[in-house]
């Protein structure tokens, strides 16, 4: 009697559960999983609205996106973005988090100011910075000339190297708050007694940082690193607004957009976007595994 009743209750729970997650199943199934599978299948066909039919072409699309010189250059550009953005965000973010962890007066407001860039539309950020980088009337040229560091107006995006650095900087300006918050949460979970004990043992501030702080925030650091990397791999808005489709600063996601929606080579775009997904997932996995191993051995 008792077991029967509990089993009946379980099925009723089961039915209610399924009913409540039905919207999740419908939306994610229809708008994410189905397109994902469709993408996987159609990347082996030629899907181009301007050409009749869609014949099976095997791995031709994948060969195209791994040999085409423009696409390869875009991969290279994205690699540069990832390195620059991760370095700026992690370095700057760690310093900002350590600072915020020490500050007691007005921390709430400082944190609000720090978080703000992350909250703004990336497109507007790029426009704001684009005005600062303006060759004729921008703040950057103005300040550099006022301090006598340079003379004459620099057209910053004429130089590929400078363009890459500036786009990474704007991207890092937006994404650094996420690193700061993740690291600040990790810092606040470290027991104060550890530092007091280290101080009694005569450790310097730098020793405390290296022996206590960094190992203990390693998991947070890994999350921050993987977030920074994945967002930088998907960098689109900043490069698009600041320098358009220019091949100098064209990231792999811009290349995908151009292949798919401007050249209307949909299946090439799908192959490319799947490779981007694999890259993102692989990077996340590497960080997670490394941290998992390191924290296990300690």
């Amino acid at each position: 009697m008792h077991t029967l009743a509990s089993r009946l209750r379980l099925t009723r729970d089961g039915r209610l559960g399924l009913l409540l997650v039905l919207p999740v199943i419908l939306i994610m199934g229809g708008l994410v999983f189905f397109p994902l599978i469709a993408s996987l299948i159609e990347s082996f066909f030629r899907v181009e609205p301007m050409k009749p039919g869609s014949p099976f072409v095997g791995i031709k699309n994948y060969v195209t996106v791994m040999t085409d010189r423009t696409v390869l250059a875009a991969w290279g550009t994205t690699a540069v973005y990832v390195i620059l953005a991760v370095v700026i965000e992690t370095g700057g973010g760690l310093m900002a988090a350590l600072l915020l962890n020490r500050i007691t007066i007005g921390r709430r407001w400082l944190l609000a100011a720090v978080v703000l860039p992350w909250c703004l539309p990336p497109v507007i950020n790029a426009i704001i910075w684009g005005w600062i980088f303006n060759p004729s009337y921008g703040l950057m040229n103005g300040l550099l000339q006022a301090t006598g560091l340079t003379s004459g107006n620099h057209v910053w995006f004429n130089d590929r190297g400078t363009g890459l650095v500036l786009i990474s900087l704007v991207h890092a300006w937006r994404m650094m708050p996420l690193t700061v918050i993740i690291l600040l949460a990790a810092l606040q979970s470290i027991p104060k007694e550890l530092y007091e004990a280290a101080k009694l043992d005569g450790a310097t501030a730098l020793q405390s940082l290296r022996q206590i702080t960094l190992p203990l925030i390693a998991p947070g650091l890994a999350i921050a690193l993987s977030q920074s990397t994945v967002f930088a791999i998907n960098l689109f808005d900043e490069a698009w607004i600041l320098n358009g489709a220019s091949t100098d600063t064209r990231s792999i996601t811009i290349q995908t957009y151009i292949s798919a929606f401007q050249n209307l080579k949909l299946s090439v775009g799908m192959a490319l976007s799947l490779l981007i997904m694999v890259a993102s997932l692989a990077v996340s996995a590497i960080y997670v595994l490394r941290v998992y191993r390191e924290t296990r051995f300690e």
């Binding site: 729970d13 089961g14 209610l16 559960g17 399924l18 409540l20 997650v21 999740v24 199943i25 939306i27 994610m28 229809g30 708008l31 994410v32 189905f34 397109p35 469709a38 993408s39 159609e42 310093m95 900002a96 600072l99 400082l110 944190l111 609000a112 100011a113 720090v114 978080v115 703000l116 909250c119 703004l120 539309p121 497109v123 507007i124 426009i127 704001i128 910075w129 005005w131 303006n134 009337y137 300040l143 006022a146 300006w173 996420l178 993740i182 949460a185 999350i223 921050a224 994945v230 689109f236 808005d237 996601t253 995908t256 929606f261 949909l266 976007s273 799947l274 997904m277 993102s280 997932l281």
Partner: protein, 292 residues
């Protein structure tokens, strides 16, 4: 002064300097854009660098919101009809996406935590795994799907895509909220004979208030700032949001920097209001969302 006091003074000075630098880095560019939006056009293109608007003007804002408009002395077509349409589109799609996402996540995440049903864990893992999938990957087949369904350039289409993009994070957040909630409250209600669904509505959801707010803020900000999705799915002013319209001001033969900065400032007002008043929820939400 004792060496100890000197050291403390030095530490405080360093901390203050660091805080000042952090403030300039975070707010400086926004301040500079605000200055540009209040500077008259001829002063914008002068050689003298002023760090504040010397002769502040509402001119650029008047151009955005005015029925008629002049540019370089000539009567030109007003941008207000476009700007109004895009502003409304941004508000409608972002609010709709927020409401739908939070509603689905609030109920769904509770089911994932409190109810046992077949395939529960596999479904949850699959949905959360899509957080690592770039939105891009599904954009192209989704484009064809939306054309076939006649949902390109409709509020329904854009909202649905937003929901599918922001639901995984919302579910993840709400699940951590429910997991932190003591089961005993719900059990007490069940023992009193309340149904599980009734318990969710009358006891669990009111307690989950802060989590729901965090979830709503994150979803709204993501939708408000979206660029790539509307770039593909909102070709006309029927649904085109501010993020797509404002960059188009550049592509005209004459770039109106004052107008662009004024439009940008308008577009960042809602996020700034959210950060000013609801920052606590936002930071909590981000921290919970990040601790994967």
């Amino acid at each position: 002064m004792t060496p100890r006091a000197t050291k403390r003074l030095a530490t405080n000075a360093a901390l203050t300097l660091g805080a000042a630098l952090l403030l300039i880095w975070s707010l400086g560019p926004i301040y500079w854009s605000l200055v540009a939006s209040l500077t008259p056009p001829n002063a914008l293109i002068s050689d003298n660098l002023h760090l504040w608007p010397v002769t502040p003007t509402w001119e650029h804002y008047a151009k955005l919101f005015g029925a008629t408009s002049t540019s370089q002395g000539n009567q030109v077509q007003s941008v207000w009809p476009q700007f109004r349409a895009a502003l409304l589109n941004s508000i409608i799609t972002s609010l709709a996406a927020t409401i739908v996402t939070v509603a689905i996540a609030a109920v769904g995440a509770w089911a994932f935590v409190r109810l046992k049903f077949p395939g529960r864990d596999a479904l949850f893992i699959a949905v959360v795994a899509t957080l690592a999938v770039p939105g891009f990957t599904v954009l192209i087949p989704l484009y064809r799907l939306m054309i076939a369904a006649g949902l390109i350039d409709t509020y329904t289409g854009v909202t649905l895509i937003y929901v599918s993009a922001f639901l995984p994070l919302a579910l993840w957040l709400m699940r951590s909220v429910y997991q932190a909630m003591p089961l005993s409250l719900e059990e007490a209600a069940w023992i009193d004979g309340a149904s599980k669904f009734y318990t969710l509505l009358r006891i669990v959801l009111p307690l989950a208030g802060p989590g729901l707010v965090a979830c709503a803020i994150l979803t709204f900000l993501s939708a408000w700032g979206q660029f790539m999705i509307p770039l593909v799915f909102s070709p006309s002013l029927a649904t085109k949001p501010l993020t797509v319209l404002i960059p188009e001001f550049v592509t005209r033969n004459y770039v109106d920097y004052g107008l662009m900065n004024a439009a940008g400032i308008i577009a960042i007002v809602p996020p700034i209001i959210l950060v000013l008043f609801l920052n606590r929820f936002l930071v909590q939400g981000l921290m919970a969302g990040a601790s994967k």
